[in-house]
Assembly symmetry: C2
Homo-oligomer: 252 residues x 2
């Protein structure tokens, strides 16, 4: 069965997240499966690299699907784009090696959390920013962020209560930068637990407000207790920027 | 009566344009007057520099209003922002000279028309871009744009049929630039007729598609006939960028 992979962008505002939920069509995965099944006249299942939450966006989501009948990749991309709503785009579509799986083969993911830190709101990008009026101390946030680098048990940064699998993850990059009124938290790691990036962002925001100290981060990690970490930051500031694999994809 | 001026930004998607229409609240002017009248507990009339159409945006609209009772400008700005919807922002508010009028004193305005020129749509900025999939020849568009510079009768570029006032306007800048997939038409002039920027953009798009030649522009101008010019380009690509006055405003 030929296997295809695609690079996707979406404005997550209107959606209940990536993952299909029963019969609802308000998920990105559900929309794509319904569309591909109609276009290809067979039942198609789509696997995504990152299961973005409700309201979370993607600039570089990767997904793959198998078909009984082979299609020319560019013809299929154009056909999909014609029927997709205006808040979802297929940037690239190509045939993939038979065993490629977008999630199982992913070696790393980069997420960005964008904050508009100004007394005056940003009307044009408001759907992709979390607005915080009080000034954030990004130097302190950066010091706190550095405490999370490396291989750690992030159980305190996971919203699922009874999580049976390992909560150990490796974070290779977590930094905080400011450009004018925008504060951006960039996180790269081998994988992230449920709500993990938003809880990290929420905790760093509390540091930026002076409610917590950078040196408190180690204690939160060691507690393994969700209640010790900060609030889960709102979804609209979060975007899945890119997914990394061993071999480069979509290269031509 | 103290006079105030403000610098405004809005996402025009949800609105029926700047100008108040009877009792509707779906205009920017209507929203601002209702809000200011409530906050200041007196009837307030707001004058705007540019009467943006339905669906058109503003990054630098200037408006002024007079009050019976003086207010501290920053207090008033904060109060307004608290009650404004998230698609309208007051960037600055300051007391203005008694005789200042945002429209009558305006010496020039700059509009931008933004086009996303790519087979793949832009999901994040789609509300502020007109999507054109077929490649546009921006060199040809630039040559055509240069034909409109100077003081001309733009009657062929005005949607109002029986327009009794002068249709002569001075355009000091009209250029076409491309940055990646985005094509931007920038227009600066002493004033623009009803739909003028959108008809100029629509005509330049037809040049970019090869449907018209740059050397056809002079004939369209000379015809003084709306039917000779191109289609009115859709509103969502248009944004009022800035308004110029003799004396600089909002300088501190």
């Amino acid at each position: 069965m030929p296997n295809y992979r695609m690079l996707l962008q979406y404005d997550g505002t209107r959606y209940a997240g990536w993952q299909k939920q029963g019969n609802t069509d308000r998920t990105i995965q559900g929309k794509l499966e319904t569309l591909l099944s109609r276009v290809c006249e067979e039942t198609v299942e789509v696997a995504g690299a990152g299961r973005t939450d409700a309201g979370v966006h993607a600039a570089g989501q990767v997904a793959n699907f198998r078909l009984q009948r082979a299609w020319d990749a560019e013809t299929l991309r154009e056909k999909m784009q014609r029927y997709l709503p205006e808040d979802v785009a297929v940037l690239c579509l190509e045939e993939a090696p038979e065993r490629f799986h977008s999630r199982l083969n992913a070696r790393g993911k980069t997420y960005e959390y964008r904050i508009w830190n100004d007394p005056v709101p940003n009307v044009f990008e408001r759907r992709f920013l979390t607005w915080i009026q009080e000034p954030l101390d990004t130097d302190r946030m950066g010091l706190a962020a550095a405490e999370f680098l490396g291989t750690r048990d992030f159980r305190a940064f996971c919203s699922l209560k009874r999580y049976k699998k390992s909560t150990v993850r490796h974070i290779e990059r977590l930094d905080v930068s400011r450009q004018g009124a925008e504060v951006r938290i960039t996180a790269t790691g081998d994988g992230f637990l449920y709500h993990m990036v938003r809880i990290l962002a929420g905790t760093l925001i509390e540091v930026g407000r002076g409610e917590r100290r950078p040196e408190d981060m180690a204690g939160i990690l060691n507690s393994l207790n969700r209640e010790e970490a900060g609030a889960t930051a709102p979804p609209q500031g979060l975007i899945l920027r890119s997914v990394r694999y061993d071999n480069p994809i979509f290269v031509d």
